[in-house]
Symmetry: C2
Subunit: 356 residues, 2 copies
């Protein structure tokens, strides 16, 4: 069986966790999964039984390389690929595939978001094992999640016939639908959420890139040549920004031939907002998720993030999100957590760079 | 006309403004009157046209002497009388009267709380002038405020016949009543709130002390003798704790003969809680009283206190009190501001001395 390589996509900036998330400490570096562990560390740990650190590649922005290297010191520094500029996921995955293929063309890429959460880690690992096995056999595999609501923020997969145990043909990818279509998909029953995890052999995905994104494929060949001469970094710096700005879903998976989907039932979450962070956090008997020395008087189901130096006291309030940092304090009802983006917009308009 | 002396009672600790008020920065040292000025500084400034700093006496606890001297550097240090322990207002006022009487027996004491607010300062000063004049003529004068609600937290004065322009006989003092009596007083129309301000000549109040609190009077004579030898401070340290623990209202004013009341109509407030602080604070068009760089999204009528280093962002919340300090954060609906005492009780039970 081919070796599995984790390709962790960690370029995201993300403003939905302001004021905790900032330019240099984005979501993936925050402990939002309910434990004292950053989301990216959890991502690497969850697959560690299959993939040792030397086979973990991380693709991120230049600005985040140092922070990620510090967070994951066991991952060799040369395994952190620095994007000079974000070009969506197709160039990111293809570059990682090319890097792996130089040493191990039949190696299987396990492409993971750096900032998701899986509640049942044993079930998750079992799905990864099966996906890797299918990918080793030549399939382009993705993991689909059974929808629980007509979510318009995710892509969907239409599921076809079974190929092997738990693995099914993916008939098509659907971009984020409107509410009417999402409701139809939920009702139809044969649609799954696209969780953004991909499994394929390096040679298989590079072949698909050659077929569907020839421009990107040509650039990768130049990267291979430069790498042989130890000049890849400078070439990437010069040319990465001109690669096609397209997602792996849209650029490759939608057009590829042997695309399969595995149904993942392991409590997947993309940790989309403070609301989700509250759901994942450990809570006391009154439903408050807060530092131990917080004081609640007639106050329930609140989510509090604050430094251990600060005592937070709340009277008569329920279902609040309170996030306190050195230079900013956010107070928002949990159901409006997504409106944090409006605060970020104001700070951008003010050019308040230190708080972004 | 006799000289007027301010006697500022500044011994209060106060927990109703936690987390801003602490043991060493109690309410009177906080800028709660809507301006960038502590309540005690405003107290002294308001009467400055009548009373220069060298005739301002401040009675406070030993622990607060340094902070008050720093806040009011223009007041001579020897004018700050340090109580080794709080013994209510009768010993405090009587000691100040004795101190003044040594140099100026017919001097008029203007006894003021250090932590009240007067909205109309011109009207207030006019009332002070008239009260001083009546006191110079031998009256024991207090200022009554027309009740606007059946408040059970204040004492009341029953008003009798007119003595002179705006000055009336005070028929009796009533301690904090229950709601039924307070409602009766409000309906009766001839009751005023006792605002805790007193005006009397030093010799007049000392005579009343001799008559009604002879034990206190004897102690004051010893203080006079010790003062003549430069030994007052050590005697006070030894004996102040054994003085009768009684209020000036109860111990003197209720029993004195020539007690008068002036109706004060100048927007008096005892600044009793964060609710009042909000009422006094300057507000923007959406009713928020907050540092200039705060961000409000669909959020109105909030009161925010925070360091200028911090941006406070509030979404979808109304009528909140938010007070952020270095080591504590309070969030409470304005109408429940008085429940701050419950937080303080928890911190006391924890023996969290640094936050009290």
């Amino acid at each position: 069986m081919s070796n599995a390589y984790a390709v962790v996509m960690a370029g995201g900036a993300g403003t939905r966790f302001w004021p905790l998330s900032r330019g240099l400490t984005p979501k993936q570096l925050l402990p939002l999964g309910g434990q004292n562990e950053s989301l990216i560390r959890a991502t690497v740990r969850r697959v560690a039984a299959l993939i040792p650190p030397e086979r973990v590649l991380i693709v991120t922005s230049e600005a985040l390389v140092d922070a990620i290297a510090k967070e994951l010191p066991e991952v060799p520094r040369e395994n952190i690929l620095a994007e000079p500029t974000g070009r969506n996921t197709a160039p990111c995955v293809a570059w990682a595939a090319a890097t792996i293929a130089r040493k191990d063309p039949t190696g299987v890429l396990v492409v993971l978001a750096a900032d998701h959460h899986m509640a049942d880690e044993a079930a998750y690992l079992e799905v990864v094992r099966r996906a890797v096995a299918a990918a080793a056999g030549g399939e382009m595999v993705t993991v689909g999640i059974k929808p629980t609501r007509p979510e318009t923020g995710y892509g969907y997969l239409e599921v076809g016939e079974a190929i092997s145990d738990g693995v099914m043909r993916a008939k098509r990818f659907v971009e984020k639908p409107d509410l009417a279509r999402a409701t139809d998909f939920l009702r139809a029953g044969n649609y799954l959420w696209n969780s953004g995890q991909f499994f394929f052999r390096a040679d298989a995905v590079l072949e698909a890139v050659a077929k569907h994104l020839p421009e990107l494929s040509a650039a990768l060949k130049q990267y291979d040549d430069a790498a042989a001469k130890g000049e890849e970094a400078s070439l990437v710096k010069k040319t990465y920004g001109s690669l096609p700005n397209i997602s792996i879903d849209h650029g490759i998976m939608e057009k590829a031939e042997r695309v399969a989907v595995i149904h993942g039932d392991f409590g997947w979450s993309d940790v989309g907002s403070w609301t989700t962070a509250y759901e994942l956090a450990p809570k006391d008997a009154t439903g408050n998720a807060a530092p131990a020395d917080s004081v609640f008087v007639d106050a329930t189901n609140n989510y509090v993030k604050a430094s251990s130096k600060k005592v937070v006291a709340i009277i008569g309030m329920h279902d609040l999100v309170v996030v306190d940092t050195e230079d900013a304090l956010l107070i928002v009802p949990r159901e409006r957590a997504q409106d944090v983006r409006e605060i970020v917009a104001v700070l951008k308009a003010r050019n308040d760079i230190s708080r972004l």
